[in-house]
Symmetry: D2
Subunit: 436 residues, 4 copies
């Protein structure tokens, strides 16, 4: 966890206090169920909740001090709770194993984290939609291989990002379902010492589903899937970040990250406005993605469990979710405040002397009866002249004076192929598909 | 693609012939739709299908020869088809761009591959279920950290694997939906030169959905998600493979891969039966997983597309699906023919002098009114003696003669805690959850 | 292995015939040593070499057919050789284990592959050096964050690439040393049945060093290091590829991949010249890098060996070396034939109205006694005007008419700061460092 | 950075205070050189060092507060230093760019980190050597595929680990050389505003070499190589950790992690002694390795630099080095205190009824004139009986009574093949190779 890439709400989920609060709730709900089953006295559960109703502070330092002696975190916690609640607390954790608490707690933390990420996603989607609508018909050049291709609108670029993050949101919902399970099944998952009803009760109370078959732990293919989904979303962040970095290049300059008046771009070059937020997002995407491989390596635990996954999760649980939360927030801000320069977009569109319309002319020639190969050759020889003139020559004028073209098409027919609106006639269709 | 790790049905999907067949179908269906829209003559579409109805051989070498000149694969293909079909073929590909064909074809190939993988999964699930039912109540020791914990059944181990692969199957269905989309939207995705109805028609005919907004290509977050899901499934394969490798260890020997009479285990040590299939599966899992990172790196294409993803997909498209198909098939065979040794499982269960029952005694003492800490100490001191005797001493006998225990529990009550069936009373519940 | 990304010399190393040839040499040299030690008759070794001297064809199909029965590759090979050589061949492989042959063979193949890669590297370095010298003083804008910064020369960019690949070459030499070891130490590495002198003899004959302590296999940390080094080199390829892709962007167009007259850039847009080779190299770099993680996962073999590494190496051994060989060759071609446009470089340099000289003015003002903060503010306010004019205004003129500047610097002194040569005075120094 | 997986000395390297101290030294040494060159007054350098000589506290909070306004870390630092030192400080940083400071500082931090890691390695190597010597001739079974193979000594296992970590140490020395370079070359690496002599002076003072050609930054292939090497070392840690985990399995129990008397293994199963340290090391290895891919993705910065690498390095710089430092320390402790059970090793060796000697018998039969195939068949048929008896039958006795064997070998000759010392005759040779 790097403070500068962290936001408080997500960070809090991973702090010891939140973990201990969840532990308590798991234990107390379990005690309720055990009392209902007659395994422990009802007074035990009541004592726990009575104490909890006082909204007690969690003394993390005290629990840590006990753990330093017992070298066991759950025992330390139970000991501390017993100190607070008194004798009735001895009925807690009856028939449970530490992993029942730890794994169910992780499930709760990951669902809390996912809920935050879903909120982040919604904000990003809203920002993308608003800017997409704003620039629905702002013409800009579409590029393949970094080379001018044909016109698109800036709104289409943002609609594409919207659709991609909308998919990301759906995947996140699936990720939540993957990890939102509860396991209270004892030392090797057989419920030998605890009735499955306890698990069912705790699951219901915590908004989790029941793990159909656990070992000592919840199977880690779930977590692998979860982090893989975060990695895919991070890759989508990288994509949009790289798009913006390209647009802000000096030679392109079709858009810029918002630049606050007091901000210094560089200690040496005062004129510089650098896309540092999106460059930063590129790096953060790499980090979120770096959690995927260790999460997959965690799946193959030995027999009913080994603890190799635990240290990995101590890192990637907080790091991947905190970093992704921060990155989504940062990206939302970048999108919301992005400075967009339609005039420059038009200027870039025009700079190639009309080459972007060559495809239309090619089709027109084909339809006028010239073979595809010949049409291609005709357009290409004119296009090459324009290209080599670095935009000084105009494709339109060259085509008009090309006898092979003139033979098949009138000047007006040719001019007709250079109309920008032709390209945008299906923008509405696409927006309907994306925004419904 | 490594021949020894490949099966014909999956390999065929990735051979040039299948690719060219799919290309033709995309082009011909598109020509149908273009004809319907009046863009090209109906005779053009009819000519294509008439030729196709002759079930023509695809001359891969001829197409390759054309590509060697044009340096463009789709143009080479179109040229070859035109040579076969004649003049009418010039209406093909009207308003389309190469990527329309290439990306939609990849979508078809990946769905074909996924359908095979789903069949593989079904076979594996069936094998796991059959063996799980067979060994539903075969007692075996559950292990955490590689150390004996408490009894489970061998069927439970397999039920766990079943549930994990059933999740894998669901993810595979999701993976299929991710990549089963069609894009025929032109050079930069605006449908400038082709009506969206063409895309819709081709999608319907090929069983794909329509990509809501494409650029020149189908967005690669879909493929990243696809390969990530394969990676998670591979990790589950690794897990089951490692379980079997552990069980086959000389000291454990609770199960063995089937060993055909003629097979030589080693050139030097004729007595050896090595778990080489599951070791191999461990390696294959690493390979399937290795596709995940490049697939994620492919997402951030520049602007409306660059072609960096293409070479990556030429490797991982075939390699990851072929390897996973082979691995699932191999694993299914291993499960089906696995030699299981219940007698040895029981022997291993017994070798620890009853230590596996310590948890039950601990609980009983607590319920008899001894504090958790004292109960723990009592059990631990006896357990340690057994442990240090390497199974020579019996925990049951020691506990019976421990006065602190005897004070609270009768010999019969203690013996009662050493009953194996106690651990299996919820096996039915778990099986119901898993197998429904 | 993808044929289109493969070159014959490297591919040949990984073909069965080469493997079998190496196997024979290992076995025959070992037999020599065994004969020298008196373990086997000298006639046995002589018989082997006598047959080898006939330059016999290796019948791969025949060996495969035997393997199909024995299910053991080395036994199959030995059987086939025995069929060719006759009775004396039974002394081969005395005291050896299959892995002695397999692992030493892999070492030979990897060193052969590395030797090719070193040759590739030399060609790339030569190309980079030639083009760096050619453009040692070709001015071009240096960019940070994609934004114009200060002038560099195009030669400096290439010198940077040269230095990076020179480091890559050194790492490759280290990689070769890592994997060029020989192990002939028997089933568990104890030399129980074979004298260490055999290993030493074979190592010398094959140009390998002796593995100080092997288990059944050569330790895989060596291979992990090897593939990690390939991954770093691939990343350097990606870097140069991305530089060229940037330079070829329509708006930048300072350099282009060579475009052969007959080449079609796109089926739809005949004017397009796409940097597809460098985009392809970007993808190939991802693939070479994808070998790193499985190679590292291969290190932790169980006890004296398991065979999980083997399938991984069947993929990544050929794939990573063949792909890297191809990529280095392709990159060399790109560099050699790169079309460089100095006029366009100068045009881009000039387009920012002199903003690139702002740092020099800033320093001059500081040296003229204005505080750093005030100097910064003065330069920034003028720079911002230029920036917002999109190059229409000139920083030089604005500064001359800024009273705060004029107070401290004469017009000539200001103009002096706009001299391009100023930036290149240490280019010689840098070239001396890099090219010696 | 996870506190429980961190040690103070390494953590300190990554704290802001250490970073600011290094920044000061870079700036002050540079000012010395600038003064020597006559660019700035000598009094400026003197003022800096005079203040430094007072051993001033670094007020991290104050610097952070300035950064919150300027949004630029180096400017914030320079401002704070200027506040402390006074007017003379304005000559600092003359002609330098932020990256000159940041990248050189990172080089210093990474070399400091590497020096600690080298010390860690030495301690680990010493521990391995001591235990290897102690158990040089402690017999234990060698295993391939998890199956008993032939005898080795426990010392050989440790010698193998020693040799592997000795290679790791050499790689670490190479890693240090990779990243120990200094770049003070200005905004785009041309030394336009700063003499290369400044760089040379600072490099000498800080014990770094000079970066031959930098852009704005030190090229990131160096860092990629650095983290890749850490990843390989982590993989070696994983290997030894997994070996120990295997040895501690209940059924094997040839060694155990030290278990302190007060330690509780499990809240439920008091008899358990779990190899949690080595399981933890397995997880930590995954984490160190997870830095490799993002470090490689960092190489391809755009043009003369983008800042995408920076956030990645903020994570992996501390995380990978701190985690590896901790892991090496933990592994050293595990090795030093490892409980080794030679009696159990012998017991395991004996449990297979002498099957481990089958290879020797096979050779003897071959040497006695039976064909390899027949020898193999004879040994295998007897070996299979032993195997199926689960150790109840003795291979020695079976062979003695097998007429095909008896025909060629006397009872004494057969018994001779069952002598353990036979396997250890070259242990001295191997130890000499490894420990010199």
């Amino acid at each position: 966890m790097i403070p500068r890439y962290s936001r408080p709400a997500m960070t809090k989920i991973w702090e010891p206090e939140n973990r201990f609060r969840i532990w308590f709730e798991i234990e107390a709900h379990a005690t309720d169920a055990l009392a209902e089953l007659g395994v422990v006295p009802k007074s035990a559960a009541e004592a726990l909740w009575a104490w909890w109703a006082t909204n007690p502070a969690i003394d993390v330092a005290a629990i840590d001090a006990i753990e330093a002696v017992t070298k066991h975190d759950v025992i330390a916690f139970l000991t501390w709770v017993a100190e607070q609640v008194g004798d009735e607390a001895r009925f807690m954790h009856q028939g449970m194993t530490s992993s029942d608490v730890l794994d169910t707690c992780l499930a709760v933390q990951l669902t809390q984290a996912t809920d935050l990420l879903l909120t982040d996603m919604d904000a990003l989607l809203e920002a993308l939609k608003a800017r997409a609508m704003e620039h629905k018909f702002t013409p800009t050049i579409g590029r393949s291989h970094g080379i001018h291709a044909e016109p698109v609108t800036f709104g289409l670029k943002l609609a594409q990002a919207y659709a991609e993050f909308a998919r990301g949101r759906e995947r996140l919902v699936a990720a939540r379902a993957e990890i939102a399970t509860c396991a209270i099944s004892g030392a090797v998952g057989t419920f030998a010492n605890i009735d499955p009803k306890v698990e069912a009760h705790v699951a219901t109370k915590l908004g989790l589903s029941v793990e159909p078959v656990s070992t000592q732990v919840i199977p880690r293919d779930r977590h692998a899937m979860f982090f893989a989904i975060l990695g895919v979303i991070a890759s989508s962040i990288e994509r949009l970040a790289i798009e913006i970095r390209h647009l802000q290049r000096t030679e392109v300059l079709e858009a810029e990250e918002y630049f606050s008046p007091g901000q210094k771009g560089s200690s040496a070059m005062p004129h510089k406005r650098n896309p540092i937020l999106t460059e930063n997002l590129t790096g953060l995407a790499r980090m979120v993605r770096s959690a995927v491989t260790p999460a997959m390596e965690n799946v193959a635990l030995w027999h009913e469990r080994d603890i190799s996954h635990s240290s990995v999760e101590r890192y990637i649980g907080p790091d991947a979710t905190i970093t992704l939360d921060f990155a989504l927030g940062r990206l939302t801000g970048v999108v919301e405040k992005l400075l967009v320069y339609p005039a420059r977009m038009q200027k870039n569109l025009d700079r190639m002397g009309g080459l972007v319309h060559s495809q239309r002319v090619l089709l027109a020639l084909t339809q006028a009866g010239i073979s595809r190969e010949d049409s291609y050759a005709i357009v290409q020889r004119n296009a090459m002249k324009v290209w080599e003139s670095d935009g000084a020559l105009s494709l339109l004028e060259l085509l008009k004076s090309d006898p092979d073209v003139a033979e098949k098409m009138s000047a007006t027919e040719i001019e007709d192929r250079f109309n920008l609106d032709y390209h945008f006639k299906h923008v509405d269709t696409i927006f309907d598909r994306v925004f419904g």
